[in-house]
Amino acid sequence: MTRTTNISKVTPVVGLEIHVELATQTKMFCRCINQFGDEPNTHVCPVCMAMPGSLPVMNRQAVAFSIKVGLALGCTVPEYTKWDRKNYYYPDLPKNYQISQYDLPLAAHGVFEIPLESGETKAIRVLRAHLEEDAGKNIHDLPGCTGVDLNRAGVPLLEIVSEPDMNSVEEVLGYARSMQRLVRWLGVSEANMQMGHMRFEPNINLHIEAGGQTYKTPIVEVKNLNSFRALERAVAYEISRQTSEWKADPEGFTLAKLGKQNRGYDDNTEKTVFQREKEEAHDYRYFPDPDLPAVVVDEAWRESIAGDIGELPLARRQRYMDAYRLAFQEADALTMDAATGDLLDAAVAVGAEPKRCVNLLLGRAAAIAKERDCTIADLGIAAGQLAELATMLTDSNINATSAETVLVAVIEDGGSPAEIAEVQGLLQVSDTGRLEVWVDEAIAENPDAVAKAREGDKKVLGFLMGQVMKKSRGAANPGEANKLLKQKLGG
């Protein structure tokens, strides 16, 4: 052990590359369907199979989606952008080059605000976002060979590269999850992890302060992580691995001596593993693709896309906390996707009380959405239905329990909440004459409880109220019924 191993501070420094598959109808350079999970080699044509003489034609929507993400990330979208060939050989890459962007990406130099557990936000700088094509898929479980499926070859892929501004596992995960929310919000990707719509490549090293000096460990890039769990484990593992490797060799295990390294990730052991690579593997010999003319993004195009973006998740969440007085968790749950918040805002716009709407959306509706693995908005509740039900609550025409029942009926069969409540006898009864019948019955049927209640037993009073509610099938106005019950017991 040398004196330098007395570490006073370890700061992880992490940058993240995120690949996002764009949800266009068709591929980037041909009009084959962009669709996951179909039979192998069913969405292929001469272009995406790299037949000689075929020519790529850029998908306008893929460019527009990329610009949208760039603008939402506060990036500069240059007027002139072009595509380059990145040359390497792999069976899933039929052209033996990937069409990507080298020196003139579609978007550069943005900032992405991410939420931290403390409730604060942190600004992570975005270096660039460029549009490239995905490769096909190699299937390794065939007997004695590898199989290649080219359905994914040529699917548009947006690569978003951050600056190394993240300093903990929490920040890396926060950034990745926020990016997933953002691309879904913008409607540019389903960002479904199981379908491989998002893949991560973190760059990790440590700044270690020891003995009055700062040491930098070699930067490790972990390739191809396809789940949040793998991302979390890989970054955590690298932090601990690099710490112990540095302790073992403080002067040798440094960025200056070892430079950058690539590592893979093993899902079974949840560790990163050394990858042997041929020395020339990264000599990609980029050059401008002569088949693809450059794209000029004029102000009119840029402005029309910018006008489509609207309020972003963080801003909306803050507005909900300020204007609707929601707790963080409520505001967060309502801003997982854009449509659920749109529904809430539309109901409020026609006069419903925000808090009533929120309670309705985050009650049984949220539970059903979770069961169905969809968003709350996907349940198909209309803003008018939500507003009507919320207003019935405000006007004490229905109680909270019955409102949930009505909402479930609305989700399942549609219809007007007021009519459903009427038909199912769920309208709240505040009329003394009708309440008296249920109260009298409850008193007559429970003489023991009544006696105890008269001696001042509060618990038994609750039991009797429960009996009244049961008799009314939840329709009794609890406040009025309680008043009446107390009157009768006291008298």
Binding site: T24, Q25, T26, C30, R31, C32, I33, E39, P40, N41, T42, H43, V44, C45, P46, C48, M49, V57, M58, N59, R60, Q61, A62, V63, K82, N87, Y88, Y89, Y90, P91, D92, L93, L104, A135, N138, I139, H140, L142, G144, C145, T146, G147, V148, D149, L150, K223, N224, G264, Q275, E280, A281, H282, D283, P288, P290, L292, P293, A294, V295, V296
Partner: protein, 100 residues
């Protein structure tokens, strides 16, 4: 002056391009590629002070297609020219590890 093309560089480019070269070919190509680069050196002598840098050789821009699906090839057609296939996959020698 551009980087001179020597025989090692030709071998390196050959390896990157998965092309096997004989020693004779390496010598020939080193000479030929060297001549090409020499010509570029000549071009470098031109005064380009007032010429804007060119990012692409074609002056066309925004050749874009609508995002509307069209039928491609059937799986049978797609596999028809493949030397080998396994079920509906192209068959290639066993690949170990993932590429970039």
């Amino acid at each position: 002056m551009s980087q001179p093309i020597d025989e090692n560089m030709v071998r390196h480019i050959g390896t990157l391009s998965r092309i096997e070269l004989t020693d004779d070919e390496v010598r020939t190509f080193a000479k030929q590629l060297g001549d090409v680069l020499e010509y570029f050196d000549k071009l470098q002598q031109l005064d380009t002070e007032d010429v804007a840098p060119m990012a692409h050789a074609v002056e066309l821009t925004n050749v874009l297609a609508d995002d509307a699906p069209r039928n491609g090839l059937s799986t049978e057609q797609a596999l028809a020219n493949a030397p080998q296939h396994e079920r509906d996959f192209f068959r290639v020698p066993k690949v170990l590890g993932e590429g970039s």
